[in-house]
């Protein structure tokens, strides 16, 4: 085990996969000479050269479309989209290109490309640089979506994503890059896509979260413990395909569910979780599923305003108590 920051763990995953497979290449804005605005690709241009670690113009729409066909024709592109807020520019290529041709062409092509991006609020970046648009990409069939919360999962999932045959949207969080954690040593330690992880065991209520919201959920579990409530926290890790077995097992034990997502509430990822739980676990539920998500509005800039709208441990704990009442 080595203690690493989340950004360093991602960097190690990129380096190892580029060393392992010469068809892996990185492109995106500011990722080369500068090493990425969050320093995830730091040092990689020096090691692998301009051709494989490529600074690009500000052209997200074409870049995403190019990643799709580069992936069809023999390479494994890893595209960095600097902010998740720019994902709407990538959507045409994801919705109309990346997600359709494997099926339409009857498996003639694999599309092994990874779109890395980061979202989330909490540091005053304003309404156009703080959103979590998880639901927007999770809506698209044929695309996998992962959102790791820890350095170990960041590394292991990014390696799995790069080796996957399908397009993977890899959602990072700007407030996680500097978090530290133990990361297993070894070039072939992968974290499988599609497997959730229980991070806190409990028997009264299940809290389902991903990315930075896992930390909020863990803090909520501590708050709830003071009142004698034993919350179970499940880190989904992969948003699509969902680990339905893990969800079922936990709810069978706790009979209560709180679903958390930093994105908007209406038609949001938490809504999808809620509907899925309702369909598959109805007989095990003693109370309606509680959603904790962003209000349906633009994220304000001023600190007290921004903090008021973001989901957090206090809101999660309150939702859990209401479900248990």
């Amino acid at each position: 085990m080595t203690v690493m920051r989340y950004a360093e763990a991602l960097n190690a995953a990129l380096r190892e996969e580029m060393q392992r497979d010469p068809s892996v290449f990185l492109f995106g804005e500011d990722i080369g000479r500068y090493g990425g605005v969050f320093k995830v690709s730091k040092g990689l241009r020096d090691e692998f050269g301009d051709a494989r670690v490529r600074d690009t113009p500000i052209s997200e729409q074409a870049l995403t479309a190019m990643a799709v066909t580069a992936a069809m024709s023999g390479t494994r592109p890893v595209l960095e989209i600097m902010y998740a807020d720019f994902l709407p520019l990538s959507l045409d290529a994801l919705v109309n290109q990346a997600s359709v041709f494997t099926y339409l062409w009857e498996g003639q092509v694999d599309i092994p490309f990874v779109l890395r991006t980061q979202g989330g609020g909490g540091v005053g970046t304003g309404a156009q640089h703080a959103k979590s648009l998880d639901a927007m990409v999770c809506h698209i069939p044929g695309i996998k979506v992962v959102a790791p919360a820890t350095p170990a999962d960041a590394k292991g999932l990014l390696k799995s994503a790069i080796r996957d045959r399908q397009p993977v949207v890899f959602l990072e969080h700007k407030l996680l890059y500097n978090t530290r954690g133990e990361v297993p040593d070894g070039d072939d330690v992968l974290v499988p896509i599609g497997k959730a992880k229980t991070v806190v065991e409990g028997k009264h209520v299940s809290i389902f979260a991903s990315s930075k919201m896992v930390i909020e959920a863990e803090n909520a579990a501590k708050l709830l413990a003071k009142d004698g409530v034993e919350a179970e926290v499940i880190d989904l890790r992969t948003l699509r395909p969902l680990d339905l077995d893990a969800i079922r097992r936990s709810i069978a034990k706790t009979n209560h569910a709180v679903v958390v997502n930093e994105g908007w509430t209406f038609c949001g990822y938490a809504s999808e979780l809620s509907a899925t739980i309702m369909e598959h676990c109805f007989d095990d539920l003693d109370a309606p599923v509680a959603r904790v998500a962003m209000p349906d509005m633009a994220i304000p800039y001023s600190e007290p305003l921004e903090m008021a709208v973001l989901p957090n441990a206090v809101k999660i704990a309150a939702a859990a108590k209401k479900a248990l009442a």
Partner: protein, 323 residues
């Protein structure tokens, strides 16, 4: 002449143009009887662009095209039977009926797809060229796209990167003068779209899109340039769309006066004249008869082929993930 097609190539091009025209005419007749599904976008009058451009490439080069791409499919070497079967939704179609006439793809022949999002083929071919450059291959990619697609934002973004990185891609702008019902001069302030190449540091050339030799020579030169590592080329092939936007187009915006000179310069007629001088009228007539027979046979076989049945399987990833 440098990069000129051989007589055998001209014969093959003529054959494929007649196959394409016959395919369009028979499809038109089926559409009129209500026997096709969804719209059909015919490329009558534009055959020289798709067929001659593909003829100038190697079999392992990648090509992508638009919703109006039958000439490119035939040009790249797809079988008429497989195309017709796909258009009629049969199991024997290139995509077993999943794609339809606009979204057909066949990796073996290097046809990486028709595309019905206007402009999407431009970054698509550019992305393939990026792969080729990274893998240090000597292949090229080519996109055939229209004057409507030339007005999209992704066209600018992709051409900018292609020029910047000297990617081995050939941009064949098939200027048929219409984006759906709107004429090009209502969509663009410049008459010759090829002038835009200057902004991307690539050569821009205008060719007569109804002249197979002109199209062939320009694409062959662009392919040589791309394989040398000198980057992309923009070729504007001037032509005309004679059968409207699609089989659901109600018309009324293309005048007979406007169309007449283009019908006079029908690319198949021009090709037949030139080829007759080389190989004699009898040989040309035999090529055309064989092409028509091939299409008739393709329809007869494909229309008695079975329909696919719906199943959840690995390529339908959307379904395979849910238990």
């Amino acid at each position: 002449m440098i990069n000129a097609p051989s007589t055998d190539e001209l014969k093959d091009i003529h054959h494929k143009m007649v196959v394409t025209r016959e395919l369009e005419e028979v499809l038109g007749a089926y559409a009129k009887e209500g026997k096709t599904r969804g719209p059909i976008h015919r490329c009558d009058g534009q055959e020289a662009v798709g067929v001659a451009a593909c003829a100038a490439l190697r079999a392992d080069d990648y090509v992508c095209t638009t919703h109006r791409g039958h000439h490119v499919y035939v040009g790249k070497g797809l079988t008429t039977r497989g195309i017709v079967a796909e258009i009629f939704g049969r199991e024997t179609g290139y995509c077993k009926g999943r794609g339809g006439h606009m979204l057909l793809g066949d990796v073996k022949t290097g046809m990486l797809g028709g595309n019905a999002i206007v402009g999407a083929g431009i970054p698509a071919a550019t992305g393939m060229a990026l792969s080729m450059q990274i893998l240090k291959q000597d292949r090229v990619s080519m996109v055939v796209f229209g004057d409507g697609a030339a007005q999209t934002g992704i066209c600018h973004e992709a051409m900018n990167m292609a020029g910047l990185w000297k990617l081995p891609v050939i941009f064949v702008l098939e200027n048929n003068q219409y984006g759906l019902t709107v004429r090009q001069e209502v969509q663009s302030p410049v008459e010759d779209l090829s002038v835009r190449a200057a902004g991307y540091a690539m050569p821009g050339e205008i060719v007569d899109g109804n002249d197979v030799e002109a199209v062939y020579r320009a694409v062959a030169a662009a392919a040589e340039r791309a394989r040398r590592g000198d980057g992309p080329t923009l070729i504007e092939a001037k032509t005309y769309r004679v059968k409207g936007f699609s089989t659901s187009d109600m018309g009324g915006y293309q005048s007979e006066e406007e169309m007449a000179p283009w019908l006079e310069r029908d690319p198949i007629k021009l090709s037949a004249e030139k080829l007759s001088a080389l190989v004699g009228a009898d040989t040309v007539a035999a090529i055309e008869a064989a092409a028509r027979a091939e299409v008739a046979q393709a329809f007869e076989t494909a229309l008695s082929d079975p329909f696919p049945t719906f199943e959840i399987h690995a390529p339908s990833a959307a379904y395979s993930e849910t238990k």
